[in-house]
């Protein structure tokens, strides 16, 4: 084992930081973290990532990418999330999730038509997986896509489709063969969001993040929209999920540093918070856990970079990081005392209420992208081999 960070990785990190220092304006951050996340500033920023070749960083060279190892994408995501920049989470679904799948399963026509525009940061996607009766049990989804001889006709509804109100395309999972059992009859489509029959309604979350319900009412979807083979959708989604499982800790490390700083300069009852033994121990404990999370996340990036397939390691990192984030956020608002109740944006709120909103947003992380309970099931059954 070797825990050293090579100089070329350090250099790439510095290059990203230099880029962020000039291109990541306050306006971009504000918009990236805002409820709707629709902004020309944010889109410009994503295009600048594209101009640098950073969206297609890890694609093969003959597909228009830079052929860089997964470690570079990891470092980029880590720096973006640390700086609260767009492109790492929530936005750039095209670059993070769709493109890797298209590279593996897409038709030549899909790749030719979509990959260059994804790489330039011109188009974005929203995920259409979850339904009212298909959450953790995604295989039970009900949205139908029926072939009528010319087109697939799609009817149903998709829940928590974040970004659907600004996305150009929907990355849709729908049932194409109801006679097959559960996992068998599902297909994946790339649906133009402007298609007649699609209605997007907002769902406003307690995290101050807008998400959506997307209704499909006899939406006609052409054959070319099908990704991979018909009824292969569940396998493709599993691949997409494992490709998506790149977790970074840039945001958590920053929160630990902010908390240390806050505790060093804030007095309570005539002494600094950091002089309180329980505060000291809690900060030391959290710093330790974030360091472990950093190692967990690096390990997955190393596996992806060195041609190893992350197995339980990717599940463990999801479980550990999201539960840690919630512990960290809880500790943060507790540390603020009564001021911890002040809401984000309130003038008197410490750090502008960052910790308050961080807490609310942390509650979602142990749910989104696979609940902690599902993660534990997966570790126990697939990694430890316990019976189902």
């Amino acid at each position: 084992m070797d825990f050293a960070i090579p100089e070329e990785e350090r250099a790439f990190r510095r290059e990203i930081r230099d880029f962020l220092a000039t291109e990541l304006t306050e306006e971009v951050v504000r918009e990236a973290q805002s409820e709707d996340r629709i902004s020309s500033a944010g889109k410009d920023f994503i295009r600048k990532l594209g101009d640098r070749g950073w969206i297609s960083l890890t694609w093969p060279v003959d597909e228009g990418g830079a052929g860089r190892p997964a470690m570079d994408r990891f470092i980029l995501n880590d720096e973006l999330i640390r700086a609260e920049a767009p492109g790492a989470v929530g936005t750039n679904v095209g670059g993070r999730i769709v493109a890797p799948v298209l590279l593996l399963y897409g038709s030549e026509q899909q790749k030719r038509r979509l990959l260059p525009r994804i790489a330039r940061g011109e188009i974005d996607f929203a995920l259409g997986y979850t339904e009212p009766d298909a959450g953790s049990d995604l295989a039970s989804l009900q949205t139908r896509a029926v072939w009528d001889g010319e087109c697939y006709v799609v009817t149903g509804q998709k829940l928590y489709s974040t970004g659907a109100h600004f996305a150009d395309y929907h990355w849709l999972a729908a049932r194409t063969d109801p006679t097959q059992p559960r996992h068998g009859g599902i297909s994946l489509f790339i649906v133009d969001m402007r298609s007649p029959g699609i209605t997007v309604r907002p769902l406003h979350s307690m995290m101050d993040l807008r998400t959506n319900v997307v209704f499909y009412d006899h939406v006609r979807v052409p054959r070319e929209a099908l990704v991979g083979q018909e009824n292969q959708g569940f396998a493709i989604m599993s691949t997409a999920l494992s490709l998506e499982r790149m977790f970074v800790t840039g945001d958590l490390r920053r929160v630990v540093e902010d908390l240390l700083d806050y505790a060093r300069r804030t007095e309570s009852g005539g002494r600094r918070l950091i002089d309180d033994v329980s505060v000291r121990r809690q900060l030391a404990q959290l710093a330790t856990e974030v360091e472990i999370a950093r190692l967990f996340s690096y390990r997955v990036a190393w596996q992806q970079s060195s041609g190893r397939h992350p197995g339980p390691e990717a599940t463990i990192v999801k479980l550990f990081i999201t539960e840690l984030q919630l512990r960290l956020a809880t500790a943060a608002i507790d540390l603020l005392g009564a001021d911890g109740e002040l809401i984000y944006g309130e003038a008197e709120a410490p750090l502008g209420g960052f910790f308050e909103r961080f807490y609310r947003r942390s509650i979602m992380r142990t749910i989104v992208g696979g609940t902690s309970e599902i993660m534990r099931n997966v570790i126990a059954q697939r990694h430890l081999g316990l019976p189902r």
């Binding site: 060093r264 950091i274 360091e291 967990f296 190393w302 463990i316 550990f320 099931n377 126990a380």
Partner: protein, 384 residues
């Protein structure tokens, strides 16, 4: 970063696991007999690990980190880490850490050539055992006595207290008109004025209080220069802390495997209990705890091996692993149910080992406090 082991390390791990597995004289069954004896029959019954020790010498383990000129194998600290993890997996008697990692390596790096020649080949061939007599350095004091020095004081619950051939003693030694400093001495067991009182402990083994009463020492016995023992001792304690972590990493891995195999087989209500989510989630938490312990511990070990400042990583590793290993043995007992409470079962050996390892070379709270000091000073655990 690279999370793969070298082929040499894989080979060493394979050999060690085979040698320490059940059915071999080095194995857990033998170890259990030793531990049981120590825990329940009094200390003396736990002492007969001579066969085990000489086998470790034959395998080259006792000189693993020493250069060939001192009879060693010239292994790296990461090689040593692999062996320590495997010893922990088999809850092997803990003398290895004290003799080789704590005292032996301190002699190697800081003692004069005569002391190195005196002790290292002897350790490597299995003829000498060494142990550390220190508890942060305040309990033994050095006083000028004519032209020489006299040591007085005592340290409680020293490892391998009776059967060690020599003690590495840390003494508070105050230069004239200055702040107290530390000086280290290597003292043979027969040195007049040293007395050992055996103590029975949860984890068994040869533990005891070592008292020094007017022990006359000379410059020949010093390890490192006079008054310069504090930084050497700090390094020694860091190595000890990481060795304890590796012991728990190995032991915790074994607990997880034992428990997983058991709940997959054990049938209640007509199905394996391991198919119940309540059980699966406990097992998953144990797996995450040990995986985390392993990574943070190997990071600390790597830094020590590279000669980098490891103060923060060692504190993190010891704080986390001490807590995680306790959670893992507690859940291990819960999942084994009644059978795990029986003395014939191995589970209690692993629980007992945790009581020892969690306290050895600083407990979780102590390391969190040390870490907090480092963080307050640096402002961040991740300086660029």
């Amino acid at each position: 970063m690279n999370f793969a082991e070298t082929s040499e390390q894989e080979l060493l791990r394979g050999t060690a696991r085979e040698m320490l597995s059940n059915g071999n004289s080095l194995g857990l069954a033998h170890v259990r007999a030793l531990n049981d004896g120590a825990a329940h029959l009094g200390v003396s019954a736990g002492l007969d690990d001579v066969a085990l020790w000489s086998q470790m010498a034959e395998l080259g383990w006792l000189g693993l980190p020493f250069p060939p000129e001192y009879g060693g194998a010239g292994g790296s600290f990461m090689d040593l880490a692999v062996l320590l993890e495997e010893l922990g997996r088999a809850v092997a008697p803990p003398a290895y850490t004290g003799t080789v990692v704590v005292c032996g390596m301190t002699v190697l790096h800081h003692a004069r050539e005569e002391l190195r020649r005196r002790w290292l080949p002897s350790i490597a061939e299995g003829s000498s055992r060494l142990t550390l007599v220190a508890d942060g350095g305040s309990a033994v004091r050095a006083h000028p006595d004519g032209g020489a020095l006299r040591l007085d004081g005592g340290v409680k619950l020293v490892d391998e207290a009776q059967r060690s051939d020599a003690y590495l003693v840390a003494a508070v030694d105050t230069p004239e008109d200055q702040q107290p400093a530390t000086t280290l001495f290597m003292l043979e067991r027969e040195t007049p004025g040293i007395r050992v009182s055996p103590q029975r402990t949860v984890a068994g083994g040869d533990r005891g209080d070592v008292e020094l009463d007017g022990v006359r020492v000379s410059a020949e016995e010093m390890v490192g220069e006079r008054f310069e023992g504090a930084s050497i001792l700090g390094e020694t304690l860091e190595r000890g802390a990481v060795a304890s972590c590796l012991d728990m990493v190995g032991a915790g891995g074994a607990v997880l495997e034992m428990v997983t195999a058991y709940v997959a087989e054990r049938v209640q209500f007509g199905r394996p209990v391991g198919s119940f989510q309540a059980v699966q989630h406990h097992a998953a938490d144990m797996a995450v705890d040990m995986d985390a312990s392993r990574l943070i511990t190997y990071e600390a070990a790597w830094r020590l091996g590279e000669g980098l400042d490891a103060s923060m990583e060692v504190a993190m590793a010891k704080a986390w692993t001490s807590q995680a290993y306790r959670r893992v043995t507690t859940l291990g007992h819960q999942l084994f149910g009644g059978i795990g409470l029986m003395r014939e079962h191995d589970m209690h050996l692993y629980m007992r080992r945790g009581r020892r390892d969690a306290l050895a070379f600083g407990d979780a709270t102590g390391h969190l406090d040390r870490l907090a000091g480092i963080l307050e000073e640096r402002g961040t655990p991740w300086p660029e």
